[in-house]
């Protein structure tokens, strides 16, 4: 289940496997979403975005799925690599500022 503070939800995957990170967003009026990757000691790094008029968008090794009916966003990472280890945040906006989810820590096992 979801935790707060220092106890981020953690997903552990074997190197080479696919990863799926989920996010429940809060505002049904949000129409633009971004996934960010944050490594220790660094700022969030843009991964991929999607508008609400789409339900799927693909990038290099990453796919974002949007289900507006249940306000759910997911990030799929293909062939997960050690360099993918980080905290992943989804962010939503309805044209104002971005609102970030609590984050998920992805740990890639050798």
């Amino acid at each position: 289940g979801e935790s707060v503070g220092l106890h981020l939800p953690t997903l552990s995957v074997q190197e080479g496997d696919n990863s799926i990170i989920n996010c429940a967003y809060s505002n049904s009026a949000s129409d633009y979403f971004i996934w960010y990757k944050q490594e220790s000691g660094k700022g969030p790094q843009f991964i991929i975005d999607i508008r609400s008029n789409m339900d799927k968008r693909q990038g290099q090794r990453v796919t974002v799925l949007l289900n507006k009916t249940v306000k759910h966003l997911s990030l799929q990472i293909a062939a997960t690599q050690p360099g993918d280890s980080a905290v992943y945040f989804c962010a939503e906006t309805n044209g104002q500022n971005f609102v970030f989810g609590p984050g998920t820590r992805l740990s890639v096992l050798p």
Partner: protein
Amino acid sequence: DAGVTQSPTHLIKTRGQHVTLRCSPISGHKSVSWYQQVLGQGPQFIFQYYEKEERGRGNFPDRFSARQFPNYSSELNVNALLLGDSALYLCASSLYYRRYTEAFFGQGTRLTVV
């Protein structure tokens, strides 16, 4: 091309002091936003500026203020520091202030209040 640059990278201040954090956006970007990230949580919106005008403000006390300069760089000021202000302060740069505009973050300023 330089990304978003923030200074300083680390800062230690005493309760009650004042702090100024600085941000230079990506060249050509006209919008700057500030976020506070407490350890273990997602960033929280503080301010957004576009063309030197405040365009949005989050739920933060009046001790927090900011401004944007003609060259689009920005400063975040925090007065009367509290222990709870200890956090990573992030600056995000966007090309415009409009929908569907990507925001790119700097590496942040780690503020510790003792």
